[in-house]
């Protein structure tokens, strides 16, 4: 179980980083093309 848990946390953090990067890029694009 601990290995699965570590894998889950790592996977989750990667997805979260990707999500925020995408959201930041979208905001930046919307702000830039005013």
């Amino acid at each position: 179980m601990p290995e699965t848990y570590g894998f889950f946390v790592a996977g989750y953090l990667s997805l979260l980083t990707l999500f925020f990067a995408a959201m930041g890029y979208a905001i930046w694009q919307l702000k830039a093309k005013k």
């Binding site: 179980m1 848990y5 889950f8 989750y12 925020f20 959201m23 919307l30």
Partner: protein, 212 residues
């Protein structure tokens, strides 16, 4: 302003995710799978909030017929759909090990499914009427659909008490949640609200730009 909101959402999410995944001890009887609670419940509350925004904007649209209100409603319905997906898909992952089945037609699950279908209907109707070059008609039907979606929210929330379903209801129960778990839940609700606000801003601006 939006960058501040974005920063707050990122920091808050990271902090609260770290707290619930690494800081909180695993629940005694359910173990690891209980962590889904910290995503499922905040997503449901966020869905309620965005549906309320969508419904308020839709009512204003029905009264005044100003496209600006429709943009807000459509953006809020899109965000609602994303959070409804989290609710609908995270529930079964928890239900399988705990209840033994992925899905059952419990009152709360059924009423949540109705909102999910209404959200799909809303997005499909808007897309179809846009492609038929009848966006005003799509906005009108969409506004009515979003009011129906909000009418279902009290049914979801009180369904467990009303129809004695099997879905757990721990928030009002004084012995339902220990203090550290409640803090984790509140942090997650706050983070999800911040994320939803950022997403709403993005969808709203896209909507404004498409119709400029």
């Amino acid at each position: 302003m939006i960058w501040l909101l974005y920063l707050a959402a990122a920091l808050c999410s990271l902090g609260s995710f770290a707290y619930i995944l690494l800081g909180l001890p695993p629940e005694a009887s359910q173990g690891f799978v209980q962590k889904i609670f910290f995503f499922h419940v905040p997503a449901a509350f966020t869905m309620y909030a965005t549906l309320t925004v969508a419904c308020a904007a839709s009512i204003l649209y029905l009264i005044q017929r100003r496209p600006a209100h429709d943009f807000i409603a459509r953006a809020a319905m899109r965000v609602s759909f994303l959070f409804a997906c989290i609710v609908i898909f995270s529930g079964p992952i928890w239900a399988k090990p705990i209840w033994g089945v992925y899905w059952t037609w419990d009152p709360r699950l059924t009423t949540s499914f109705v909102v999910f279908v209404l959200l799909i209907a809303y997005l499909s109707v808007r897309r179809i009427f846009d492609s038929l070059q009848l966006p005003a008609r799509g906005a009108l039907i969409g506004a009515i659909l979003s009011i129906f979606a909000l009418l279902d929210v009290p049914l979801i929330h009180f369904s467990v008490k009303l129809w004695r379903g099997i879905h757990p209801s721990v928030l009002k129960d004084p012995n339902g949640l220990p203090d550290d778990y409640r803090l984790g839940l509140e942090l997650m609700i706050f983070s999800f609200f911040l994320i939803a606000s950022c997403l709403f801003w993005i969808f709203w601006k896209i909507e404004e730009r498409k119709n400029a």
